[in-house]
Amino acid sequence: MKFTPEPRTELIVGHFRVITLKIQVILPSVCGEVTRVVPRSSRPFLRTSFFYAKNLEVSKLDLLEEIKKIEKEVEEKFENVKDLDQLEDLRVEYLGKKGKISQIFSKMGQVADEKKPLVGKETNILKNKAQKMYEEIKAKKEKELKQKRLKAETIDITLPGAKVNVGHKNPFTHIIDEVVELFLGMGFSIEEGPEVENEFYNFAALNIPEDHPARDLQDTLYVDDEYLLRTHTSPVQIRTMEKQDPPIRIIAPGRVYRSDELDASHSPNFHQIEGLVIDKDISFSDLKGVIAEFVHEIYGEERKIRFRPSYFPFTEPSAEVDVSCNVCKGEGCSFCSYTGWVEVLGSGMVHPNVLRMSGLDPDVYSGFAFGMGWDRIAMLKYDIDDIRVLYENDKRFIHQF
């Protein structure tokens, strides 16, 4: 016999507590009421209780009516369920082990035998229907809940991102990385040399004799009678030829120094990138080809290039290289002094005197050299109009690169 704990009534009658429980099911076909009478004595041995039952009846039921009723209930309640908690309550109420639908099965005993198959079938249909409804509504409610949660989690995606601190490359480094990549690809390696040089490497070995007007081209800063600050990266040419046999292909980036007052276009300390190629059968055409690769890579494919005769003591023939002005596209403007061209580098075939001084026979070997202002590349490429800004190191400047 099973009791459902609720509902129940409690009465105090004299020395007894009378607890009345409605028994829904005692046996499959028995319904009724059971009353438990508990003595109110404080003495434990006297607390033995007893039961009595009343209104018990055994009935032969036609449950079809009830099935319909439950079906209707199920439909209504499930349709109107508010949330998953409520749905779970409904599941227990109807589909639980002791739920209303299970109870129908448990009342089967009271059904007339000939009706049993029909009642069983209808109950099963009801059960399946309720189960299906439950699952569908559950899925729907879960989905709704998820969506609701996602919606509640919506953020303002226009808010700025977290501050990620990554340092910026210096514009000089941007330039040299590009230049180096290009020349590595053409088989060049990178050479360096001392910034404090002597007369020999800086001048004499480059075919710039003492008291030659060519020395006026570069105002030199001296350390003492022996040493000076290199005025160009060209000494690296000599140092490379000294330690390496042809074929030679190098670029040499580095700092150089001149006795120039600091202003918008001059600086006593600036940077150059030198290039040198020595081999058999190197021609002026080769010089033009390599320079063109460089100019197009750094300044853009659309730029025009022109070579014009110039003079450097260590090259012969010598050529100044101009690219079409990017501001006016070659039309002529104040930036290019109305010429349509901007000077970007100096170059030439290595002077036979330089080859000879480095122990190479000019009838066997030839080569070309070029040199350019690294600062100038940055200024032209990034449209910087004052060299000083490159060395001032304002964070807002560096963060533009």
């Binding site: 340092g167 180096v180 006593p268 080769d286 080809g289 005769p309 036979p352």
Partner: protein, 804 residues
Amino acid sequence: MQVPYNWLKTYIDFPYTPEELSHKLTMAGLEVEEVEYLGEGLEDIVIGEIAEINNHPNADKLKICKVNTGDKTLQMITGAPNIRVDIKVPIAEVGVALPTGMEIEKTKLRGEVSEGMICSKDELGLQEERASGIMILPDDAQPGQKFVKYYGLDEYVFHLDLTPNYARCLGLLGVAREVKAMEKSGNEINFPKIDIEDDDNQEIEKLALIKIEDEDLCPRYAGRVIRDVEIKPSPKWMQRRLKAAGIRPINNIVDITNYVLLEYNQPLHAFDLDKIKDGQVIVRRAEENEKVVTLDDVERTLDQETLVITDPEKIIAVAGVMGAANSEVTQETTDIFLEAAYFAPTSIRKTARKLGLPSEASHRFERGIDIERVIEAGNRAAYLMQEYANGKVASGVIDNYPVPYEENIIEVNLAKVNRLLGIELNKDEIEEMLKRLEIEVVEKKADAIKVKAPSYRNDIEQDADIIEEIARIYGYNNIPSTVPKTNKVGKRSKKQKIEKEIKNTMNATGLDEIITFSLTGSQDYKDLDLSKDHRYKKWVSIKNPLNEAFGLLRTSLIPNLIDSIATNAKRQIDQVRYFEIGRVFTNQGHKKRPLENTKLAAGSMGAAQDIWQLDAPDFYYLKGALEKLFERLAISQEIEFVRGKEDFMHPGRTAEIKFKNEKIGILGELKPKIIDSYDLKERTAVSEIDLTKILSEVEIGDYLFEMLPKYPAVARDLAVLISEDVPVMEVLNLINNTDHEILKDTELFDIYQGEQIPAGQKSIAFKLLFQAPDRTLTDEEVNEVFNQIVKNLKDKYEAEIRKK
């Protein structure tokens, strides 16, 4: 060199407009820096003639003029006091803008119409100061004529930036030769007129004598004498040409020497013959400390390197540089001794530099002039003195030419020409090009030619110079472009790779790269408050610095780093993280090559996160960045941070960085005094590391894979109370050196002092990670090691495990 277009045209006819000529000159190697139009802004000014003047009915000081401008008569009002009938004046008609920007409008002046303006010199921009009246032109001016044409301002001037090998173009004839060579059959050159009527009554030998004592410095010295000259201004056309070329007219004699200098590139000097004792000219070296007062009235002290021109008693000129005041041509001069000489370039260069006297003459002598045309130039000047100073040219020339010009015959291999230029030219084509340059082929061989360059081409020494001329005439831009083949592979050296890795890592840890001057000043180091013999003071000084601020080579990257941070602080940028990689220089003694080391410096100001709550955010930020760097370079195990000391750093917040037990750098917070003097934010920290050892000993990219753990790790927290004096690193070392095999990692995650911690102690908390490669650890195993660690800490430091 300034080349006036029309003047140049008198020597060679050419079909180019000024713009075309400018381009062609540049492409021939004579770089045109600027083309100046002398009449800029005056193009529309015309010449008018005052036909009639009437008083203005309504104004006493104004006149109404009828001005004939050639084809019409206009009415103009003027108040100029010097207005007269029949004079020629510059006129700006209605609609014309003056150089001042003022545009002439048709107006009424007190009721009378004015249809233009009669201009004064200052209104035309021809003089600075205010003119008192209108400009009156000479009578030969024609009404209706363009003012610029009449006044010689219709002239384009080319400002050439000539390289030393174009010295020949420091004379107009040289430029004319270049123009000639621009075309296959260019026009011939019109050489200047020389038509001397020799005064046979006077032979030069009786008037003058030349003696060269130092022929090495003076291979040729020639003289002519011109008598009875009349000193006066030179003709207007000559003055205009000189002015256009940038030379100030003085008098006819001086102007003529300058004029010929500009024609022939031959400096000349005119002496007052009467002031040369006995007419004897001696060319010699100066004596040590010999003195002379030059034309500019400055007394100069000479030495034996200097070549001077003297008479038997005194120095009359510093050869090729400047004349002496004592023999100057003056208003009273009647007889001229005209010098035309060739001086050794090096000597002139040294003298001009020593005396600080660069001049038009010395500029040319030091670049080398045409020794073979010395006489011709002298004659040209003598002729002009005859014509424009009414001089009588004494017959004969004294030509002292002890070291004659030697012709240089150069053999040029034809295959080499083509090989070196990357073109295909035959002998005839080459010969034709050379002919345009007056380079003569003296001998033809099967595979080579022998050529002789003209005497004015002192820049041509060997075949390479001839090849350059061929390339120039052929046109650099007509030579094809090729990329030379190679079997070489471009590579970065190990050092370059490490440097790149360092830069990348520094960027990745949030530091921006800066570049600062390596030329700096001692003030930067004074600001660092360095002790007397601090290593930073072993700098290399510049012998001839531009100024104090660029007087030495840096010994450290720190001063400029601080300076850069300070620059930002001044500009209200309060968070700065910088690094620089660059060379520093250490003096190794006089005449010894300074040491050049590559260093890394890093600095941080205003870091946000104060990880250990010790109010040292910048210090620990930089330390973290450096630790990451050492990790990237795989040398963390060999790096140690120990307590250090540095003059400009906070004594309690300075670390020395050691690599393989050798000090390679420092890291620390700047001391308050420095922070204050640079106006930096508090707690700014800097570091400097000498990369020499790292660059030579680190192997980059040498990674070795270690198996990933297969078994789970066990983490235990360990918090201990320990004396506040014990450095965390010691504790860490003690933990890590515990005898075990299973402690994989120890990480400090908290350090605390304050409430609940006894005074003099601190709480430090570590996360210990235990793991074995071959099994899942048991609690017992972990406990054993853990307890051992606790015991060791207790034994050594009396550290107590902290109860939660």
